[in-house]
Every structure is written in structure tokens, then in C-alpha cells.
Amino acid sequence: MSALICNIVLGIIILYLGFLKRKSILAPAAIAGLLIVMFLSFKDWGLGSRYFHDMILFDNFSIAFNISMIIISILIFLFGIDYYQMMSHHVAEQYALMIFALTGAFLMTSFSNLIMLFMGIEILSIPLYVLAGGKKASFRSNEASFKYFMLGSFATAIFLFGIALVYGASATFYLPEIKTFIAQFNGQLPPMVMVGLLFILIGVAFKVAVAPFHFWSPDVYEGSPTLVTAFMATVVKTAGFAAFYRLLGMGLLPLPIPLEKALWVMTGLTLLIGNLGALKQTNFKRLLAYSAIAHSGFIMLAMLSQHDSSAKVILYYTFVYSLATVPLFIIFILVKRASNGQEELFNFRGLFKEKPWIAIFMTILLVSLAGIPPTSGFMAKYQVFVLSISQGNLLISIFAILMAVIGIYYYFFVVREIYTESEQLNPIVLTKLNAALIIGCSTAVVLLGIFVWNLPV
């Protein structure tokens, strides 16, 4: 709880630090604050404290996810030092909004009440609507913000409607009570509850961009400022899946058969659309957007293969995915600057000749996302497949494997561009901090794949 409060206060402090007109202190202050929040989260480990009449439960699951999100946020803020160098206005607001969004993410991992989940999603989303429009002069950014806002509020409405329906039938928001309420019907749910649950799942599925509720994500990812895209692709996705898992694990499992079928279809569709959609992309940000959808499919697979270790696998998967994605966005920004603002895949040509070390590290990151040993991306996929195969979901596993092949195809499409020569080479300007981030993350991506331990979630 102290972590949550500290985080809100941190956001407000950062907002006021903006009055000092000194950009250089913002990121260090935010990072220092996040470190304190992380420390406070650690202190709650194993206590399982409950607040507000059991509306919030800080168990190990939520703390582990919170810490993973804090680490990723710190990486993004470190990237922000360089990213906001050119920007003169509203830098403090950007950091503060991200911290507020993080607060919402904390609520999403720790709710035990549907109202708290709703609050979490809203606190996460509203700052993001603003952040997506961060580049006020850019047409694409405005479009992204507007699109995200329209579709997001629509999804929220559906979600809220679902909560209302479930409340109307069961007279409670508290998840364990909903679970007992559902259990008494032995799978023959009244239509009102069924529709309510479906609407709730749709609301959450929208947040994590699971097909067929993914249409916003490529446009929003492409239009938003890159730092915000990185934030959405990593922290927001982690929070969304933590919420999804908690919703299922705490309240809805075992799912009624029609809903389970619906979720399986969504998983299959997500894998298919994410991977096939990525194939034809020429814009790097859109490619990563589709790749994010594809990874959602694999996480869904782990989530639906109900097992004790599902939570660990999801935590590991989201963390290593985020760890590989953030530096990719950094490299993307460097290349974008060197090629006069172009975002196409062929802009990566000549990277190997220009900066061989960056090319090699970028290869490692892409290899990890593609899921090839000995990287952590492979270990993550391996664990997902172990879960789904040991739960007997053989056909969808084979389907997922075929989709993983397609994934390798488009990631290595980028790899191939990196090692292709190009006629004109633009100098890539690299700050020491960014270099350290890229190297650090890539090393971590490899080491986490080699040294895997049983996460205590």
C-alpha cells in the first residue's frame, strides 16, 4: 500500500518539478522515486496485505508483477533522458502521466474486486490517451490519441456494462464471492451472467490487444511518440495480462464452456492475425505492434492452459518480452534520427557496417523475440509450450508452433535488412546512456535465458 501511495505522490512531485524549468532533473528524480517504490514493494513481499475492505490484495503475484513493471518503467525513463532532449515543453507532464499510468497498473495487478479493476484500467488508460497525443503538431499522433480514446472508451463502456450485469445477478463485486456464485450453477449459467462475463472479458481483451479487439493497436503504436509506444507495448501489456490472469484465476475459473471456447478462439485468432499481419509490414513500429499482438497470443495460450505455474510463465514471458522490446525502440529511434524521420524497415540497411556492435545486439534482441535459444525469449516460449502441451492442448500447440515459424520469418526479415549493405550511410549518434541500455538489456536477455530459476509467485 505504501508503494501505491508513494507512487501517486511521486507523480505529483514530478508534475510540480516541471515548474523549475530544468529538464535534466526530471528523469533522475523519477527514477529515484521509482527505486523507492520498488523498495517499498519488496517490503510487502509475503505479507499478503489487504486494504479497503478486501478491495485490494497485495499478494506475491501482484508484487512480482509490480516490480517487473517498475524495472521496465525505469528503463523507459532512462531512455527518456535522451528522447526528450529535443523537446522543450511539457516534459514533466509526460513523466508524471507515465507514473500515473503505472499507478493504474498497480491497481490492475492487485484488485480483488471488479470496481478496483475498473478503476485500475481507467487510471491506466486516461494518461495514455493524453500521452498518445504527445506530439501535438503531428497529425499521426493526434489520430492515434483520438482513435485510442474513442475505442478505449467504447471498450470501457462495454466492460462497465458487463460488471453491472454480473452485479445485477450476483449482488457482489468481490471476485471470490462471484466465483462461488458461478460455481453453484455447475456450468449452466443464466444468460445475464454469461453476457456480463463475456463483456468483462471483452473489456480486458481490448486492453491487451487480443484479436478480434486489436484493431486500435497498430495505428496507435505507429502514431504515438516512440517512448509512449514502448511504454504501451511493455508496461501496459504486462498490467493487462496480470489483470486478465487475476480475473480468471480469482474469479472465473473454471470457465463456463462457451466462454472458454470463446477464449480459445480468441487465442487462435490472435496468433494468426498477429503473425500474419506482421508479415507484410514495412513500418518498424507497426511491425512491433503486430509482434506485440502475436506475443499476446502466446501469453493467452499460457493463461488458458490452467496450471499452478501459469502465473510464473506469464510473468517471465511479459518481463523478457518487455526487456527485449524497450531497447529495440531505442535503436529504432537512433536509426530514425539518422534517416531523417523515416520509419521503414529498409532504413536499417547498413546498420551492421555503420555500428556493428549495435547491429549485433539488435540481432540478439530480435532473436530473443523470435524465440531461438539460448535467449530468454526461447525459454519463455518453451515454458508456454510445456504448459499447453502438458495440459493436453496439442492441436493449438502445433498451430502456435507454426505461427512461431512465421514470427521467425518477420523478425529475421529485419535481421536481414541490418546486414544488407546500403549505398548511403548516415552517421548514427549514440549517447553513452543509450549504449549502456542497449548492451545491458541484451546481456540480460541472454543471461535470463541461461539462468532460469523458479519464480516464487
Binding site: F352, P356, V367, I372, P373, P374, F378, Y382, Q383, F385, V386, I389, S390, L394, S397, I398, I401, L402, A404, V405, I408, Y409, F412, F413, R416, Y419, T420, V452, W453, N454
Partner: protein, 477 residues
């Protein structure tokens, strides 16, 4: 412990090389390390102490870092360590970009291959299996020839597709193991899988190996890749990496799904024999010298696959012998192709001819290698292929007849190629072609010595293989 040393020497040397910039130093260090590794392998063979190395790795998923060396592994390790000095030597004095990176990747491949051949844990096996592919992909992509962008891509995706099915198979077997699950090969071998499962599981596992070898009809990646690859790349690919598939079948497929193997035995043999005939005919029709060698390699490998699935001790003995002899021969052939390309600037046979007049020594050495490839008696190829055909004969006469076509058709297309490259009239603009350089002798003479030596006195290898053939003679129904 000694196994870990063998495994790590190339990789660590490779990392060390990244700090050097001068090409001759890099090449010498790389070569030195590979020779040291070869010497250690010989020590291992002569002391013949059974050694293993085990280390806990990811305990909660039943994964351990276990290395072991039985006779099958030993042949493969010997082949790998025997060929890599030549692969590295082939880079000497040639114009190459980023020499340190190239040598690092080659040594990295060597480590990964050794890992594949020594791993006693299926997960570890899979990790090394994939790890071997990545450096080769970059060797082909950065140092390859024309059209490398699309061809390497096809090669990479094709092989990875197979690997992912293998991964599925490994996980499926893993969750069948009793108790707290494990991925150890010993646990896999003890599994009692019902026949109906084995029948489909066979293909899940076999597809990865079939693509790697390659077996007809999974071969389409191979000829263009071989043609495009740099000399060193193709030496690794054809010499050692094709053997990964054979090793995989011996180590993984036969013990784990024996009923599946019996069920599909004839299907695979027939596919392979189709591959033999098909590849031989195309080798005859191909005008490109490198393509011709690529298809000839496919024909020989197909015969090896057919023999492997004959499941008797003649065939297995011949197969393992042929693994060694094919590796050496094909590496020598591709080096010859590289020399032809360097001397004349082309590998299209209609533009070649009459090289013998300019380079008589080259012509003689090429002829000896070629005779080894078409399995003339007193060369290593003869011993292996004879035993394999004898093994196939026990399965069916017709299998032996079609298997024997490898030799006959091989003689036809190889001699025809020799005629077109070396003999006849000299064609255009290679007036200033010289004979072999000392480096070329340094590579070709030892390889020829191995080909002839194994052909004249194959007994040491058979002594080495005795325990294996005893195991496999019990396998046939």
C-alpha cells in the same frame, strides 16, 4: 571434464578472436585452437575412457547440462574436429571482410555442433541444435555469394520449421516422463509409448532430421544454398551439418519411437531411394559444377538414410563409416570447386574445359578425390557404401539394386563433370591460370590421405564401432 574442455575450446577461442584485427593472427589462432581440439579428440579415442560431464542447470524443469560420449557421438565428434581445421585453413590467404567475426562464427558453429553430438539431455540437444544454425546463417548471409538474401532466408526458415516440430516432440515426451518430469535421453528411452502415438510422433521428430539431411522431398533448400555459400560455409554445411540429421535419427528417433520407426521404415527407405535416383539424374543434368556436387551429396546422403532405416548391423556399420568418409570427401570436393572458381572465375561447366593442361597436379588430385566420391575400391567411400548396400540387401533385393545405383550413376555424372572441367579444349580467357599453391596442397593432400587411408585400412574405425553395431543388431524385428 575433458568433454567440457573440447566443447569450450572453440567457443572461448572465438570470443578471444574478437579482440584482434589482423587477419593472419586471427586465422592462425583459430587454426591452432582447432588443431589442439583435434589432438584432444585423438587422446580421447586412444585412452577410450568413458567420460561424462553433468551439471545441474534448470532443475525445476528437469533440465540438466549433461555431456556424454558413446561410440556414435565419438564418430561425429571426430568428424567435426577433423574437418574444422581444414575449414579454417581454407580461409587462409583469401580476401575476406571482417575476418575476426567470420572466424568467431566458424568456431562458434564448431562448439555448437560438438554440443549437439555430446548432449545427453534432449533440451540441451535442442539448444545446441538451434545454436549451430545461427552462426551458419550469418556466415551465409554476410559472406555468401549472389542471391544470398533470399536463399539464406529460405534455408533458415526451412530448417527452423523442422526444429520447432522437434521442440514440440521434446516437450511431448517430457510430459510423458514419470514423476517430476525430465528431458534426459535415458528417461526418454525408457518410455513405453503406445504404437498409435508413436506413429504420428515419428513424423514430428523425423521432420527436423529429414530437413537437415535432407531427405527427398525436403531437400529444396539445399542445392541453391550450397551453390551460393562461401567455401567455408559450404564445407561446414555439407561436411558436418548434414550429419546432424543422421545423428539425430540414431540418437533420438530409433530408441524413443522404435515402433514408429518400424511402421514407417519402408516409406522412408523408398523416399530415400527416390532421392538417390532423383538427385543423381539432376546432378547429371546440372551445368553448374557446385550444383552438381550439391546434388551428388544429396544422393549419397539419401543412400545413408536408406541404410540407416534398414536397421541391421551391416548397414549401421557402413553408415557410420560413411559419415566419416562422406564428410571428408565432400569437403575436398567443395574445396576443388572453390579452386576452379578462383582460377577461372566461373563454375558453369559449359564455359570450363582444358584445365588439366594448365594445372596438371590439380587435375590429378581432383581425380583421386572424385574416385573416392564414386566409391572406387581402396577408397573410403567404397567400404561404407558396400556395407550399406549389403545392409539394404538384407531388407530387400530391390532396395539394394536401387541403392547400388548411387555408385553407377555417381560414376557417370562425376566422370562427365571431370571431362567437362578438366579435359577437352581450353575455352576462353583463362590463359594465366597457374597450378596449385602450397596452401592448396596443405588442404587437399591430407584429405586425400584420409580418403585412401580409410579405404585401405578401415579396421580401426570398425574396432571403434563394434559396441554400436552390437546394439543395433538387436534392433531389427
Amino acid at each position: 571434464m575433458i568433454l567440457l574442455i573440447i566443447l569450450l575450446i572453440p567457443m572461448l577461442t572465438g570470443l578471444f578472436l574478437l579482440f584482434f584485427r589482423k587477419a593472419p593472427i586471427v586465422r592462425s589462432i583459430a587454426l591452432g585452437s582447432s588443431i589442439v581440439n583435434l589432438l584432444i579428440t585423438f587422446i580421447l579415442i586412444f585412452t577410450s575412457s568413458p567420460s561424462t560431464y553433468a551439471l545441474n542447470w534448470i532443475n525445476f524443469m528437469g533440465i540438466s547440462f549433461t555431456l556424454g560420449l558413446d561410440e556414435i557421438s565419438l564418430i561425429m565428434v571426430l568428424l567435426t574436429n577433423l574437418l574444422f581445421p581444414f575449414v579454417l585453413l581454407a580461409g587462409f590467404t583469401r580476401e575476406q571482410r571482417n575476418v575476426h567475426l567470420l572466424n568467431f562464427l566458424i568456431l562458434f558453429t564448431q562448439s555448437a555442433l560438438l554440443g549437439v553430438f555430446m548432449a545427453q539431455n534432449a533440451f540441451l540437444f535442442y539448444v545446441f541444435w538451434e545454436l549451430a544454425l545461427i552462426p551458419v546463417y550469418f556466415i551465409l548471409l554476410i559472406w555468401g555469394g549472389d542471391g544470398r538474401r533470399t536463399i539464406t532466408f529460405k534455408f533458415f526458415i526451412y530448417t527452423l520449421t523442422g526444429s520447432l516440430f522437434l521442440l514440440f516432440g521434446i516437450i511431448y515426451l517430457y510430459q510423458l516422463t514419470p514423476g517430476s518430469h525430465t528431458t534426459d535421453f535415458t528417461a526418454f528411452n525408457q518410455l513405453q509409448i503406445p504404437e498409435s502415438t508413436q506413429i504420428w510422433l515419428f513424423w514430428i521428430l523425423f521432420i527436423a532430421f529429414a530437413i537437415k539431411m535432407p531427405v527427398f522431398p525436403f531437400h529444396t533448400w539445399q542445392p541453391p544454398t550450397y551453390k551460393m555459400a562461401s567455401t567455408q560455409g559450404v564445407m561446414i554445411l555439407a561436411g558436418v551439418m548434414t550429419k546432424m540429421g543422421i545423428y539425430g535419427v540414431l540418437r533420438f528417433l530409433l530408441p524413443v519411437v522404435p515402433m514408429g520407426v518400424h511402421f514407417w521404415q519402408n516409406t522412408v527407405i523408398i523416399l530415400s531411394l527416390i532421392g538417390v535416383i532423383y538427385a543423381s539424374v539432376i546432378a547429371f543434368k546440372k551445368a553448374n559444377f557446385k550444383m552438381m556436387i550439391a546434388f551428388s551429396s544429396m544422393a549419397h546422403i539419401s543412400l545413408m538414410v536408406a541404410a540407416m532405416f534398414a536397421l541391421n548391423h551391416y548397414a549401421v556399420q557402413g553408415l557410420l563409416f560413411q559419415v566419416l568418409s562422406h564428410g571428408v570427401t565432400i569437403v575436398a570436393l567443395f574445396y576443388v570447386a572453390c579452386l576452379v572458381k578462383e582460377k577461372t572465375g566461373t563454375t558453369e561447366m559449359p564455359q570450363l574445359g582444358g584445365l588439366k593442361a594448365k594445372a596438371p597436379n590439380f587435375a590429378i588430385l581432383f581425380l583421386i578425390i572424385l574416385l573416392g566420391s564414386i566409391a572406387l575400391p581402396l577408397t573410403a567411400g567404397f567400404v561404407g557404401e558396400f556395407l550399406m548396400i549389403a545392409g539394404l540387401f538384407q531388407q530387400s533385393v530391390w532396395f539394394a539394386v536401387f541403392g547400388g545405383m548411387t555408385m553407377i550413376l555417381g560414376a557417370i555424372y562425376m566422370l562427365y563433370a571431370y571431362q567437362r572441367v578438366m579435359l577437352g579444349h581450353q575455352k576462353t580467357n583463362f590463359e594465366h591460370v597457374g597450378d596449385l599453391l602450397s596452401l592448396d596442397y596443405l588442404i587437399l593432400i591430407p584429405l586425400i590421405a584420409i580418403i585412401l587411408g580409410l579405404g585401405i585400412y578401415p579396421q580401426p574405425i570398425f574396432d571403434l564401432l563394434k559396441p554400436v553395431t552390437e546394439i543395433f543388431s538387436g534392433l531389427a524385428p
